[in-house]
Symmetry: C2
Subunit: 327 residues, 2 copies
Amino acid sequence: MNRRIVVTDGLAKEAILHLKNQGYSVDEISFSKDEINNGSLRDYDAVIIRSATKLDKIAIESNSEGKLKVICRAGVGVDNIDINAATNHGIMVVNAPSSTTQSVAELTIGHLLSCTRHISRGDRLMRDGIWAKKELRGSELSGKNLGLIGYGRIARKVSHLAIAFGMDIHAFDPYLPDNQFEGITKHETIDDLFSKCTHISVHCNLTEDTRKLIGEDLINLMPQLGADGSNCGRYLVSLSRGGIVNELELFNCLNNEKLTCAGLDVFEIEPVLKNKLLNCDNFIGTPHIAASTVEAQIRVGLESANQIITSLNGELPKNIINKEIFD
Amino acid sequence: MNRRIVVTDGLAKEAILHLKNQGYSVDEISFSKDEINNGSLRDYDAVIIRSATKLDKIAIESNSEGKLKVICRAGVGVDNIDINAATNHGIMVVNAPSSTTQSVAELTIGHLLSCTRHISRGDRLMRDGIWAKKELRGSELSGKNLGLIGYGRIARKVSHLAIAFGMDIHAFDPYLPDNQFEGITKHETIDDLFSKCTHISVHCNLTEDTRKLIGEDLINLMPQLGADGSNCGRYLVSLSRGGIVNELELFNCLNNEKLTCAGLDVFEIEPVLKNKLLNCDNFIGTPHIAASTVEAQIRVGLESANQIITSLNGELPKNIINKEIFD
């Protein structure tokens, strides 16, 4: 058979072993942009990428005149792949969307609790020799309204966890039919959502519609008191994609304490080496690790491997992004 | 009536207002140890303390020859009060145990998630200009065994939250009857509990039996893999009382990575100004803030005020610690 697969951004060793056991030859190589634009992927039947490898139009066109039949995103977001270019050249794009849901949802609650209870700040102050017990009074998640921007797979899992804490769930998602909001409060506009929620978590994709969607105007709408009447403050977390939250306006809202605290796992420019947000005491940053758990990476790897195997066997994989290549 | 109450460690303003509305005179004064030992509390009918004021035998004896009839601990732990001395002098001791349950349980999950997902460490590294995405791979709570030392009110709430995350709950509590462990796994010995659990949370009281109870010997028993077979690491958190976890041995276990990460909200010596644990990258410290939320402090204040009102009216308060004063 001699089918060759290249893994450019790493993959769980369990998944690579699985592919090799199925008779595939697997190379693990990180290519530079120039190497890709010079056709490094041409001799492979499939490439498995994560978020680091960018497959824009030029990259895809440069590799379309060879064996390449499948691009697999080992993860969820395919905004680093030019789907139209892939479709035009008959290259299938697949991803592994369900493998990371639990990990992202757990870190979302982790960010919310770190915000409401000043965990990272308390730890930092203690390391500086400051016992700030009195200054670090927090608030409970219980009894508050959690607003979810986007109500897909991850937001639903967050909703399940937050309900256990005693939160009331509100969501805005214009792409979902009404029957998908069972047990929670659906909002028709994002303004309406912000005006009801002291706690906001962002779970939508980055598109031209959502770029810099969340800024000062919306944050200004958030209520002064929690749904239970307590003076709990206002919180925003995002583990979706950088660029949906307007970072400059977020900085202003943290600085003037319109927001009590905010947590981001994703940033407009990554990797972050310098960012004004990191000067704010009431900010928590993590380096895009929402899907980075041993469990999720094994699941992502195996799901990706199986998508590739199915595709190269000429069958229809479950998570195909550009079904239209068959039109 | 002219009944006088003194509040020595602060109390929610809502509670002080409630007492005043009921006709009590309320002073808010922080006394030094010397002032207390010189009888500063003698002219009050009741004193409301938190953890800062220590009412040892001498303090109680120095104030027993006056009006003092009730000591109220606005919170749970009464280890700062010599109960025997109070009983011997006919002074009632009450507390407000249920008000803080939700807050402590939420911070417990917050500490667990900060540990398993390296939230505080990621934030610290980002502030130092380091994007440690690859180094900060975490693990999911889902599918793991959580071991609870003590299975009282707070541990049960933690259990409820952890179950939502997909954890299996194990507990050791020699003081509870068998029928109190419904839906979870009861362990007969603490060794047995540690040998089954990759995640441990401490919820017992500090007594002579529990002092330095948790150290290297027990940590050495923790399994190498999670209950779901994943290489998740080993975690310990405590928000109960300082001194139950042996800090020197905890430091060793963090240093040699027998523990992947640990989180403490309580310490052998408080306030902490210097502590070797704070040199560990894989440690998270918070300054005894588990009960410090706006919601819990209002509930604690009102519950305390009502305990005092009931007692001074000659009725039996719900949360009396030393019922034997009536013997």
